[in-house]
């Protein structure tokens, strides 16, 4: 019996072989080929898709029109020189269609729509007849006028460059 056979199989060396490091991927051998595993990528893409689909429902395209309540009975108000406000009056035209009438109190101008209203308000502000950006604009509307029209009137005054726009109570002439 040879010596090698007596000793049995050679003991495993704990020392790593040169060029064979722990955790290193096996080198491609002849005949093997590289392939991309698309499954994880599809997983991630689907997750991204769900994320954006769910996320878009949270985006509410809403803005705000800042407003300020008219101060009543304040000390400053008592001292201030009274300014004639521009009063916009919105009323509902009787009939099956939800049409509204826009008027400016004390003015012969009759706006046909909110674009026209904005134009008239700009002319008032820049016409040199005593109105400016600080002139109060008060929006009065009939009870049944839809909120959309009231906001449209408010928006037209804001577009026309007025800074003090308020909402008024119902007027007898409405």
């Amino acid at each position: 019996m040879s010596r090698a056979a007596q000793d049995g199989p050679p003991a495993r060396s704990s020392r790593p072989r040169p060029g064979k490091r722990f955790g290193r991927a096996a080198r491609p051998t002849a005949g093997s080929f590289m392939a991309f595993n698309l499954t994880p990528m599809i997983d991630v893409v689907f997750n991204l898709l769900i994320y954006f689909i769910v996320g878009t429902t949270f985006l509410r395209a809403e803005g705000i029109l800042p407003s300020r309540m008219a101060r009543l009975g304040s000390a400053a108000g008592a001292q201030a020189i009274p300014v004639t406000p521009i009063r916009l009056i919105l009323s509902q035209v009787p009939g099956p269609e939800e049409r509204i009438r826009i008027r400016l109190e004390g003015s012969a101008a009759v706006p046909q729509d909110f674009e026209d209203l904005c134009r008239i308000l700009i002319n008032l502000r820049t016409g040199g007849i005593g109105f400016d950006a600080h002139t109060p604009v008060v929006v009065h509307a009939q009870d049944q006028v839809a909120w959309d029209h009231v906001v449209n009137a408010y928006n037209a005054a804001k577009r026309a460059g007025y800074e003090a726009i308020n909402f008024g109570t119902a007027r007898r002439s409405e």
């Binding site: 955790g23 997750n47 509410r60 395209a61 029109l65 800042p66 309540m69 674009e115 839809a146 906001v151």
Partner: protein
């Protein structure tokens, strides 16, 4: 000489990141869905769409939202303070007064359905004024948003 015993091959250890990404994305989706509860005060309604809107997307720090919503077109609209349904205007007044006491610089965001008659919005405005809340914001669609 007998052949040497075959060594057990060690598979290479690799860190698979994909399941981690999957789980993270699922967590993100979960928390986004849960956070819907916190935005519940934005109840579903059609806000006004002014022509050439001047409405801007601005964050209001100390705010309370009053929603005026149509649940049924044949019934009067309902008032909600945040997401809390308010049965009577007196209750809206009481709750608003309580919040104003807690937050002196309280601002009100008024979200009303565009079809609501002005009469209902005016009642809410009168309550806002009665509680000495000076600043309020009207919610409308900003410009450039498709109708």
């Amino acid at each position: 000489m007998p052949p040497a015993a075959k060594r057990p091959s060690h598979p290479p250890v690799r860190f698979n990141v994909t399941p981690l990404i999957d789980v993270v994305f699922l967590l993100v989706i979960f928390f986004m869905l849960v956070s819907q509860f916190s935005s519940a005060e934005h109840v579903d309604l059609e806000v006004p769409e002014p022509h050439q809107s001047q409405a801007a997307e601005v964050a209001v720090p100390e705010k309370v939202i009053i929603n005026i919503q149509y649940v049924d077109q044949d019934l009067p609209p309902v008032y909600l303070l945040g997401s809390v349904h308010v049965d009577e205007l007196d209750e809206l007044d009481r709750r608003l007064r309580h919040q104003k006491k807690e937050t002196p610089n309280l601002e009100v965001v008024l979200r009303a359905d565009k079809r609501v008659p002005y009469h209902y919005v005016r009642q809410a405005m009168q309550i806002i004024a009665a509680n000495r809340i000076e600043v309020f914001h009207i919610v409308a669609k900003p410009q450039g948003v498709p109708r």
